[in-house]
Symmetry: C2
Subunit: 393 residues, 2 copies
């Protein structure tokens, strides 16, 4: 195995970006990553573009990666779009990692972009419902929101999780987002405010759901050979990069943790570490209950203890294992295919000690986890990365 | 570099498949490849699903790969959709190759599927127009058909290529397809018939354009270690697997060969071979002129000699370098994201000596090339594979 590092990260602000078209969102994120890395467009050997729902919204389904990179002068190299629903960005990073591992490339670009506003909310919601197997779910009204309602109810039934604990996830992530100028939402929430907000699908209220978001994010991965030769800026080492699918079953249980279990087992084994070694984590919570399930699935706390984990303050800044220091999907925003790459960006920022008021003191090991799609009781797929602060910083 | 082999191939019939939904098309192709390889679903370590236009047509944009593989019991492994317009299938094979090269996997599945009929021809044509940068082309009426008309005119102007020579590509590929029971069209054409057929965009007539097609194709790639351990069936060695993009430019020339030049240089270097070593080729001709340009771009003949190459019979069965022995995109059909994988299937079939009446006698080296998307005078991207008949056969 080759040693692989992240040396450049970039992102647009997440939120409503009426002045940027799809191409400009991608260009801006990639250009920022190139500048951050101190590399030229011609240094890039291969590029993976995460892109999931905006094709449906803006009628530009195909070759979006080529379109974004053309004006930056990135050409001749393989440019491939990857899609795994909400986790398209996580898989863009994973494919970049594998491409370097293959020995054929030394510098790989992973980026993701979406523009979800501008054609009406209904169009965006339509696009999102494609993340569930249409035949099994969407046609019966099981949109993502409705599914999260059922999952929340099941978790409450199985483990005694409370709606207040779910609200605490929303409040915590908004508090973190208030410290992140690139986050979509910065105004703090209260538990009372979350619980009395409009109901989406009982017991899930509006602030327990992620928003619709425009945004792009990019990361540049390099081999150790390239790192040494070019003296790259503030490299962060990738200790583990894994991908997995769930284990859908006709006898399904709505709140399955199997996808988390598979990817975290692979990831911890690859890194030679366990959940107690993680100093900071970026995980995917399109709904508050998902963050609680992720604590459990990744072993941050015992099964069923996720609600109490957030209540204890363990996952808050200042706690034992701060989670979603950038505000997470709920408050940084969820520009679908950009999310996984933005998570990597936050962990790299934390490893570099450059997170400013949201910095986790002394953080040396960070974890990124993202899931995408949903069918038959389990997320369709997931990626997990474990990053390490390197001695060069 | 590890040695990688193709050991299983499968495809549906290409054409109009009203009795199969999208999931069944994918399942059928993958199941056929598993049976062909003599492998079990649990042998697969990673899967890449090419899928380009059917999401737009059938409103199932996301997680199609997971949906296809679920009922076959392929789960827990990474399943990723890849898209590079018409070349999504070629890149699925390339990513499978890179995944094995990474050392993390020994068995990788590449498959592609589309269902383009069933929601009306206009819906399919709309979806196809997304393969061109919408801002630059589609909004000005430069659909794929119109673009091919302009490219044909330019090639005629530059090199003296004739419409009769273009018609010969259509006639030849239909003659080959008549020997392929899985091809969409089997009724032979005449040059007169092609020239007097309805005009699409001068000088391109209907039989010079590929049809709209339903279909799926799959290929299973394995490492040499796995091959030896499991005594895999009729393996065909991959000598080269490369990907590239074109070099779009504002000062563009409509009939650029740059994408072909880049991928063939990389591919021939990797294989240590040249165009004279190729015994049979599967190339992408969504329009007849593209096959003529491919002869030139891949060095099968000198630049500008493509029209005379087909006229000489060199690219026909029985000629010096038979091209598109399965009928090609024009007559096998173009189930967009399945095409690149079906091309690999045809070359594997030829290398195994199992192509029946369309077998190229003594073929030892075969080449696959596919391009996808179009912007500013060049195809967006391309993949090229060179395969070798192995001594095990």
């Amino acid at each position: 195995m080759r040693n692989v590092y992240v040396t450049g990260i970039g992102m647009t602000k997440f939120g409503i970006l009426p002045d940027m078209n799809l191409r400009e969102i991608g260009e801006t994120a990639v250009w920022a990553a190139l500048k951050d890395a101190g590399l030229k467009p011609s240094d890039i050997g291969v590029a993976y573009c995460g892109y999931a729902v905006s094709g449906h919204i803006y009628d530009q389904e195909l070759v979006m990666g080529h379109t974004c990179l053309r004006e930056l002068g990135i050409k001749e190299i393989p440019i491939l779009r990857v899609e795994q629903a909400c986790n398209s960005g996580g898989f863009a990073v994973r494919e970049a990692f594998l491409a370097i591992q293959s020995g054929f490339y030394d510098v790989a670009l992973a980026f993701g972009l979406e523009k979800m506003f501008g054609r009406g909310t209904q169009k965006a919601v339509d696009a999102l419902s494609k993340g569930l197997d249409t035949e099994l779910y969407a046609e019966y009204g099981l949109t993502p929101g409705a599914t999260f309602g059922l999952i929340s109810k099941r978790h409450m039934y199985d483990y005694g999780t409370t709606v207040e604990q779910m609200a605490m996830v929303s409040v915590k992530n908004r508090r973190h987002a208030a410290l992140n100028p690139r986050a979509q939402f910065q105004k703090e929430l209260t538990i009372e405010g979350v619980l009395t907000a409009p109901m989406i699908a009982e017991p899930v209220t509006l602030p327990m759901c992620c928003p619709i978001t425009d945004g792009g994010a990019a990361a540049i991965l390099v081999s150790e050979d390239f790192l040494r030769k070019r003296n790259c800026r503030k490299p962060v080492k990738i200790l583990a990069s894994v991908g997995a699918s769930g284990s859908p079953s006709w006898t399904y249980k709505l709140s399955s943790h199997e996808n988390y279990a598979i990817s975290s087992k692979l990831g911890y084994e690859m890194a030679g570490l366990g959940p107690n070694d993680i100093d900071v984590a970026a995980v995917h919570e399109p709904c508050a209950i998902m963050e609680i399930m992720t604590y459990e699935g990744l072993g941050f706390c015992p099964m069923g203890e996720g609600g109490r984990f957030v209540e204890s303050g363990a996952s808050s800044l200042g706690g034992r294992l701060p989670v979603n220091t950038d505000g997470g999907t709920l408050s940084r925003g969820h520009a679908i295919a950009a999310t996984g790459v933005a998570q990597i960006g936050e962990i790299v920022t934390q490893m570099r000690g450059e997170a400013g008021p949201r910095q986790v003191e002394g953080a040396k090991i960070g974890l990124q986890h993202c899931v995408g799609g949903y069918q038959m009781g389990d997320a369709c797929g997931s990626t997990l990365h474990i990053l390490e602060r390197s001695s060069e910083i």
